[in-house]
């Protein structure tokens, strides 16, 4: 009975919606990282499937219908880019060089840490796009030969971490400029960083949203070079 039910597409869909919505309610009441709706939904569903011995494939019969919407949602980010284009025009040198240098800096640190831990090339490819929005990270990781589902988990964790460490780092390094705060959050912690930026202010929110897209595009442009560097070093 359970087996036939679990391969019905609605099983995966309802499971995803239920735990995500439950996470939303819990996160509103107790705003701690484990109740972040995405974190909560992913971890609860994994635990549930493992406990009931339902394979991922059965869940994903419905899951892939949800997965399908990642591309249109990413395409729709163009609307936010168009709406915040004035900011970009005004501060483009600071924003673009900040993000481009940030991506290079991140790659260098990642390579140093990866050599230290002796990670495999697949693992470096899996980690490389971790600071961009999941949809783009997924595509980049796949094209570089990374482990896609692991990239998703890493991206989510990076986002959660960015929202936690963001404000203390701004205080420590005296980063008080709202544009700088927004770009830092959006470029290193994507949409979740943007959720934190919305709490900090309107300018931060707009800049963070804009940075998600710019970082994504810069990472996509930079990825082929990163593949060469990784092939050379690992």
């Amino acid at each position: 009975m359970l087996e036939t039910l679990s391969i019905n597409p609605y099983f995966g869909i309802i499971l995803s919606f239920s735990f995500f919505l439950l996470g939303t309610v819990l996160h509103k009441r107790w705003p701690i990282p484990i109740f972040n709706p995405l974190v909560f939904a992913i971890s609860s569903i994994i635990i549930l499937l493992l406990l009931t011995n339902i394979p991922y494939g059965s869940y994903n019969v419905g899951g892939r219908f949800i997965n399908l919407w990642i591309t249109p949602a990413t395409v729709a980010l163009a609307i936010k880019l168009e709406k915040n284009f004035d900011y970009l025009k005004k501060y483009y040198t600071a924003i673009l060089s900040g993000i481009a240098l940030g991506v290079i800096f991140h790659t260098v640190i990642l390579i140093i840490v990866s050599i230290f831990f002796q990670f495999s090339p697949d693992m470096v490819a899996t980690l490389f796009p971790k600071s961009v929005t999941t949809a783009i990270a997924l595509g980049v990781s796949e094209s570089m030969g990374g482990i896609v589902s692991l990239t998703v988990a890493i991206v989510v964790f990076t986002g959660v971490l960015g929202t936690i460490v963001g404000p203390p780092i701004f205080a420590l390094l005296k980063i008080t400029d709202p544009v700088a705060q927004g770009v830092a959050l959006g470029s290193s912690a994507h949409a979740m960083g943007t959720a934190k930026a919305i709490e900090l202010g309107d300018v931060q929110a707009a800049m963070s949203g804009l940075s998600i897209i710019l970082t994504g595009v810069i990472i996509v442009i930079f990825a082929p070079f990163a593949i060469e560097i990784i092939a050379l070093l690992f």
Partner: protein
């Protein structure tokens, strides 16, 4: 009807993006190509904001839920994670924290320098 039309435009750009990604020699995700194309269309007013805005905002504002299935896919990788999970965790903490601080400092520095120089040039004239 209005929402249906808006959805049509977004799906059309998604499809064009996926198609171009397929025939492109460099590895660029179709979603990114679609996004850039939609941005160009909006920016040059070939397509008006109100022709996509409502459905587009619904999709981006609720984007997180679409990643649930991909994230649950992590359970198929538990084997790989076995020995390296703490190293991965440490890597993420170090790289994310450093990048956040670095980008913030660079942007703040460059923006202030640009503002100072524009102030200086005004004072001189």
């Amino acid at each position: 009807m209005k929402q249906l039309k808006q959805l049509f435009w977004i799906l059309l750009f998604s499809f064009i993006g996926e198609f171009l990604s397929l025939i492109s020699p460099v590895a660029v995700p179709g979603s990114v190509i679609g996004m850039v194309l939609l941005f160009v269309a909006l920016h040059f007013n070939w397509l008006k904001l109100n022709q996509v805005e409502e459905v587009g905002n619904f999709l981006t504002d609720n984007m997180a839920i679409f990643f649930v299935p991909a994230g649950v896919g992590l359970m198929t990788n538990f084997g790989i994670l076995g020995d390296v999970w703490w190293q991965l965790l440490l890597t993420i903490v170090v790289t994310t924290t450093l990048m956040l601080g670095f980008v913030g400092l660079v942007v703040q520095f460059m923006k202030r320098r640009a503002e100072d120089s524009s102030k200086d040039s005004k004072e001189m004239t």
